[in-house]
């Protein structure tokens, strides 16, 4: 069961995320759940695996919006980094960042 406490332990900046939800903890936790589902669909990994960088950027950008607003810092950091690389298709270790996102998503999913 996901709680404010477990999210804090996960490393999320819960206060900032809550401030964006007008302090509504229920909403915040519900939105985190939605975010975990989106992340777990793993579309990003598939797109990168298929070499579809443009599609990968769109997915990353969309994920970034939710993850950043919820202040899920451990996932936010690699998602932002990957999004910026993909924006201009700057060479970089896309797979490593993706693996980091997948790993952290799994950790978060385990809390749910």
């Amino acid at each position: 069961m996901l709680t404010i406490e477990t999210l804090k332990q996960f490393g999320a900046d819960v206060d900032t995320g809550l401030a964006r939800c007008a302090g509504n903890e229920g909403l915040y936790l519900r939105l985190v759940n939605i975010c975990v589902q989106e992340l777990s669909e793993n579309e990003l990994e598939a797109a990168l695996g298929a070499g579809e960088l443009e599609k990968a950027f769109e997915i990353a950008h969309r994920l970034k919006g939710g993850v950043s607003n919820l202040a899920l810092t451990p996932i936010e950091t690699p998602v932002c980094e990957l999004t910026e690389l993909l924006r201009h298709e700057t060479p970089g270790d896309y797979d490593a960042l993706c693996a980091q996102i997948v790993q952290k998503t799994k950790e978060l999913a385990a809390l749910v």
Binding site: R20, R30, L31
Partner: protein
Amino acid sequence: MANKRTTFRITEKKRRILVVEDEIINREMLRESLESTYDILIAQSGEEALEFVHNQHETISVVLLDLYLPGIGGIEVLKKIKDDPVYAHLPVIVMTSDYEAEVECLGYGAIDFISKPYPPSKVILARILRTVELSEDRDTIHWAERDHLTGLYNKEFFYHYAMQLDLYHKGMETDALVIDVNHFHTINDRYGKAKGDKVLKHIAGSLHDIVAAEGGIVCRSEADTFMLYCPHRNDYEALLSALTFTIEDEEAGDSHVWVRMGVYAQVDKSLDIEFRFDRAKMAADTVKGNLTNPIGFYDDSMHDAEVLAEQLIADFHAAIREKQFVVYYQPKYNVLGDEPVLSSAEALVRWKHPKLGMVDPGVFIPLFEENGLIQELDHYVWSQAAAQIYDWKERLGLTIPVSVNISRVDLYDPELVDNLLKLIRVNRLDIEELILEITESAYTENSKMIIKKVEHLHRLGFRIEMDDFGSGYSSLSMLSTMPIDALKLDMQFIRNAFKDRKDTRLLEIMIRLADAFELLTIAEGVETAEQVFTLKQLGCDIIQGFYFSRPQPAEEFEKFVMAKKSIHSINWAVDARSAPRDDYSYNALHDALTGLYNYSAFDVLFRDADKDHIAILIADVDNYDIIKQRKGKEYADKLICHVANVIKENFRSVDYVCRLTENEFVVIVTRVTKANKAPVVSKVEKINKTLKMKCDDIEPVELTVGIAFSDSTKPDSDVFKDADTALKRMKEIKHSGYSVF
């Protein structure tokens, strides 16, 4: 029921916000942040957003717009909103994490941005609140300072901004312009108000484009009046033509929209801004209805006129009290008979101002007509004139009817009839002795009421003259039913007919028209013998003007009349044909001895003759000098009269027989060509045959005659010269008889 009533209201606090966001997490966060304060509409795509904007733009206070959207992107949505004048006022806040995109969006008209990740919801709320306040203030100001139809400034704010412009551009020469649409109400009447509004919007649009390109500001100050304050220019024609256009309408037909413009160029900036535009308006009024020259320029004389007008209005009542207004009288002559007969006089008011001297009635009458003082002045003139008629009757035994002016405003006075009858009674006048002149234009406004009123006066026995006929727009069909006795042709009408190239066709038509309706025609402003002569020829009944006499004060007029002893008819000239001749020497056009036309008349007649269809005969009495020397002047005069009679008897009434010099006669034979040579020659033979016979105590004489016919194939030929050449040829060979050129 009560419930329903409470739901039908506008909540003051709960503004409506359109949130455009496809991402569920962001969307839900915003919903949570805003829902308690605002009414939220959610669009998940650009298309959906535009649909909301299209359907509900009037109730949306702010749009929160995400840039990354499926389908139509956020930037595209923003552009679509801002490019449409109907939606452009909607404040759009863009939500993005991209600084470059922020700048781009501000350029497209976004009012603010919210960064991603979002700031705390309190911050979002505060920013939205600020945006709503700003944009509502902006709208309030916009509609307070603007005309709702055209979107141009209204007058008050226009003046305010014009003064601001002056502060920023102190040294710049500036023009104040007033633009009016000619006959705008007829556009509304003809095409309907919606089209009328379109016309105003069109002009507003053109003016807006002009100031956008050339600087300045513009407003719609009244219904169909626009004001423009702009850098000085020299050419106003281009501006005018940019504002002139055609309304196309299949049903009502196309119509040209004409504007007129008043220009106060290079304004005096020490004047209040309102005064500058008063001057431009004054200039615009000078070209009202003038389609050929629709630009009026203000000059200082207009200002002087304005100052003068104020003084005259201020001095009016003292002038009435102190009898500064003096009534002058100008005679009207009936010219139907051989000699003119005085038929009546017109009372004309003059103002002997103690400081300004004689004030031109052309200045004060229109002024008093405008502000209603004319009514008081009219009453004054009527009573002076009525008393004068009585005085002349009593003191001199002369009955001279006098016409007075009835102004339009008098006709609305319920006591008009009573007042006039009272004057008749008090001064013991016959009712037809006070003639009423009513201007043509009075009939066109509220014509039913006016005609009824005038009919009443007419039935009572007042003679009615329609003044200024030809200057207004009275319907010709009205003439037959109008209660009038005479048409007084507008002075300008006479002037135009005799201007540079004489053209009396219109005059002739008017006189015939009056004749057909059994109305007398009166021509005023007649100045020359030529005019009198032509008017008489055309059948005009009565003539008034400097040719006979200027308007004069009563005493002088009285002397003039007594000297001429020319009062014959109080029947208001109806029986003028049978009126006895008087000895007034009007006949500048006739030879005193023979009664034939004299040299001046010949001049006029020859000039106006149809040069393609005339013959000229010049005739000399043979040996006239010897006869005169031998038998004396008395006999010579008798001889000339005899010759004149014989010539006159032999020509038609359409021919003109003139005596040019003592011994020289000229006949203008009209409506002939060379083909008619035989009958013309036979007339000359007949005349000589008659003259060669002894008649009473006149010895036989003979004429030497030169004849020439006009030749339309030789436009430069001079038929008079040709006749003269033919006459000289005969004289050279010392031969009596005739010669044809």
